[in-house]
Symmetry: D2
Subunit: 359 residues, 4 copies
């Protein structure tokens, strides 16, 4: 009897179920006596031994379903070594649950922080195979994460809708796209949606450069501009501030629920343009996964099962050039794949005339 | 030679082009010598004689296009009798343009304010036929306006996306739906999306009732709640305030970019729940019109052409019980079709358990 | 304790689950002690007493799901009085099951044939409330059936996709839309998709008239034509044939899997045009119900529950002019709502230039 | 003054306009004096000198539009050297047009055949840069072609819709996916849609193996099966036939409009199951390009412009591992990228239980 634990961790995204289905279907097809244990709400379920014995039918019909049948929660890596309110050591608890349930392997679907924890558990001696989940596509070691293309579709669709209405009125529109630290989602959605200006966490913007781009379009007879702005977009002034100065600024200035409203206010101030803000928010994590995500999820899931069958542990399954590869967890953990301001894609975007507010 | 003027007025919406196509194709099929004059940017084009002579090919391929090929602008009815900055009387200018161009009829696609102006022009002696445009479905005299069902689809889709992600986390989600004075869009999207709580301008809410509904769900094991909130949702306290008091409140309290953020802050304050806000904003006016809107737009357009052919002027073409009817403009002008808190649809929504914050 | 039976009958469609949810949520909210019994696979479940006791949680999260959680089957009305292979009288069996389970009422979601059976059961003394299900919108007594608008969306989307590719090539495209006897679905999708030619079961076509319309477009520089053809489209020759002659024709001529291929072959024969056929087929019954369908389903469901509460039996709940009304089953049973060739909508379609092959 | 010719060739697909926009916007941004000449209807426009001088505004707003603003046609490579009906040598004519218009470069958007012609023109001394267009993703030298992911979405959506209705009835459903020689589209859509059986041109099927898979599912309580079948799916018997034998078979057997109907008939014959066929057909080439395609199209277009600026001719711009690279045309021409029956993706698909009819 093989016993495989499984959990989904961190912010949810679109193809978590599709990926788990890929792992499970492959395992059930390979072994007559495999048992999958699903931990509830991420690492929390492993810590507190909240789990259910999954049945093959649990994985049926979930290829197209958003969310996660196991639930998820954020368990910051930093606090993993901090005892909980009852003095419980979380890492030891996870190891205890793993051993008590006599697991052969733990399958973790997670983003950056979750991969760090997965690596730690691997270093602590557990057999771990992980899968790259995040709408941010910011995981090191894989060209693509599942969830990303589905989120791109939703953010792009918002920009598309804005386009038709923008062309009829004479305004500036800001669509705020998810991404506090990394701009891949905003960059892709902005390019796909034909945004005129794209502001990313990795490329601090000069509000005057942004306003000049708007004015230039206006003078060329294009009476609207569309900005795709990452949640973590940052001005050159802010980028130069210390953490303390940033806090001061927040405390003294007007409070905006998010960066798009602040940038909108600055644009109105400088250009006099009416600005309208759209915040797709958590819709970007929801809905049915797109075909692309379902394909890579199924493939990643099958390869995770193969690693388990071959007893190759300590790896994240990853996507490279249409192939599925395996990357040592210790190489993945703690690294972020950010947008390099000088990369080919940014250059290409600039070639077609997109302004990033930097020059 | 028949000469027909046409304009689109007010906030844009999804089937303006489809409707104009319906009018134009019908006219071109009926008459060999009809000429359609398109005024740019709504009544502004009529006031300042900005127009283009349309060709049949201009109306080809636009059935599925959002926005309006004529452009639009808001020209508040109240200011129509106020001379512009150059002392120009706008009403006289419109009449002048109409006569100079020897129009047989003016076709107006517009919402509430635009219908008032259409009626005034009709009373001033112009031949006017109007069409019911608005995502708000708040026009008196018609069961349905074009644009409404397309907007419902977009707002519903936002709630759908939130649903999958909400079920994975444990939070309160607010989707802010367009509608400052009228709640039809929020009511339909809220019902279609399976929102737990719907807040409308017509039904002042008690924040405690809202929070109790959230807590009740939580106690029943449903660890998330979704609110569909109209832009013009109003609390019982606010509803009881004078205009002056409302202004005071706004001046002294924290400033929120829109009502959803304020309600979200109150919910966190009272229940301690994390709240996430989604603002689809102008996406609700954009994108390709849905099949429903394209059908009624084509039908409304054809019937407008028939009225013109029969020289029946002074009417808005309207939709009633799957039929297209005509309603005298003077009956339409100045009336708003709001959500009656006691209407069947609200009762049905309450029967399936939706909370409106009122009891 | 109230005991309510429920079944879904006939070809499936998109908002069956949404409607059952509407009924169930309303009942559970009204009564503490209601029990809903779900019969499996339509009337078959009632005949053979295959059922499950439903729980409130069964109706949770199904608003957006296509298909039916109860399953469905076709049980032709004509064979209801014919004993089955074991000599079982089906009508008596249904009455027996109803009584044995001590039902207060049976809720039937069905189309034409199913309503006839519902009426028969009502006349046999059972308490029946029915709901209007069909993608064909051919039920007498209601302006709209749930499923219809969702199916219109899918068929329209197919025509939309064809449009972009048709405009690049020079061909005739046929999209075959569901509807053997009634053309509402084809008419709505055809209008919404901007089809040039629409062929319906109710309006026999002359293939030469169809080909002339194609040639006329071609001469006017429009090098493609799109036909929306109902499965049951019929030529004038066929319409004039006896059943025997029709059978002869089928036996002797080439065999086509469906009418679109036959019409395509004739068009190629006469005009020399390349023809491409698209058959969306059962996709038209699938997918998530559209917002419109979810709203009317929820409303219809709530009103069905109200009828049950008021012990008003023998009715179909129906939709008229944005209101939900009740229609005696005996008025509904056996009547078909077909497209009247002289109705306003056909005239409007002709005004915008759509050819129906009849003149 | 730089003069750049541009044409779209072969079957159309979804991001042709997006790609041309990418090339054009980049060129206009780089040069003040560039002129783009658009040839109409593919190579035909180059042969017969049918062209238009494009304006920057021609490329505005087309990012999201399906089809091609230049039109397209199939000009088989084999017939390029065969004089036309007037004795005109097509290759010489193309060279003549190119020189007469003093082009600096010709940009070709095309699939397999078109790349062969592009290579020939390059070998004949013209400056050529080409871009990989096809819904089939069968071009050698690139991991991805634009159009492919959009087509996958449409075919997947068809399977999704079938899924909900299939689960309610008890039938076998066949969705016929485009692809006469290459199965990538069917493979991706089949995996994304959760098809149970996938039949590809590259993997000859045994109808008995297919029917056993259906029966096995049925015995396991899954009363429906969904097949994703490529247009060019081929049985083991057919694969073993000579061309002459194949012709004989076609002449003597029943005639089916396409392979799905034939396979359906065999399944009914062997298993007795009711089979329903869906043919999305040319819808797979239509509609707005998906976000993924718009991103790679814009990137590919920008890099094509860079090659032109650097006077690097004789290349196809290609996509590899998230990077845009250039591949010599002579390496691309005449090679087909087919599905290797032993490749990782097929193995992964088999791991999750998909049957390919081969074993």
């Amino acid at each position: 009897m093989r016993r495989i634990g499984m959990l989904t961790s961190g912010g949810d995204c679109q193809a978590l179920n599709a990926t788990m289905r890929g792992v499970a279907k492959s395992l059930y097809n390979m072994y007559d006596d495999v048992e999958i244990i699903g931990f509830e709400d991420g690492y929390k379920g492993l810590i507190y031994a909240n789990y259910k014995i999954m049945q093959p039918s649990d994985f049926s019909g979930i290829l197209t379903e958003g969310g996660t049948i196991l639930g998820t929660s954020r368990q910051p890596f930093k606090q993993m070594r901090v005892p909980d309110e009852n003095g419980l050591d979380k890492v030891e608890s996870m190891k205890h649950t793993y051993r008590k349930l006599k697991l052969n392997c733990l399958v973790v679907l997670g983003g950056n922080g979750s991969q760090k924890t997965a690596n730690m558990l691997s270093e602590e001696g557990l057999n771990v195979v992980s899968l790259p989940k995040t709408i941010d596509n910011d995981l090191w070691g894989t060209e693509m994460t599942f969830g990303f293309q589905s989120a791109v579709n939703i953010a792009t669709n918002a920009i598309d809708c804005i386009h038709t209405t923008a062309a009829s009125h004479r305004r500036v529109f800001i669509v705020e796209v998810m991404g506090h630290k990394v701009g891949w989602l905003t960059l892709h959605a902005g390019m796909a949606g034909g945004a005129d200006i794209i502001l990313l966490p990795e490329i601090p913007y000069d509000i005057n450069v942004v306003c000049e781009a708007i004015t230039r379009r206006s003078k060329a007879g294009k009476h609207f501009s569309i900005l795709a702005v990452a949640e973590g977009a940052i001005s050159k002034e802010e980028a130069a501030m210390t953490k303390k100065q940033l806090k001061e600024k927040k405390k003294n200035g007007p409070v905006y629920p998010s960066v798009a409203y602040e940038i909108g206010a600055r644009i109105t101030e400088i250009t006099g343009s009416e600005v309208r803000v759209t915040v797709p928010g958590h819709t970007q994590r929801g809905g049915s996964p797109c075909a692309y995500d379902r394909v890579i999820s199924t493939r990643l899931g099958a390869e995770a099962a193969r690693l388990i069958a071959e007893e190759q542990y300590g790896y994240m399954v990853a996507f490279r050039g249409n192939d599925i590869v395996q990357v040592p967890l210790k190489e993945v953990a703690g690294k972020l794949k950010t947008v390099d301001p000088g990369c080919a894609m940014i250059q290409e975007a600039k070639m077609v005339g997109i302004c990033f507010g930097d020059e």
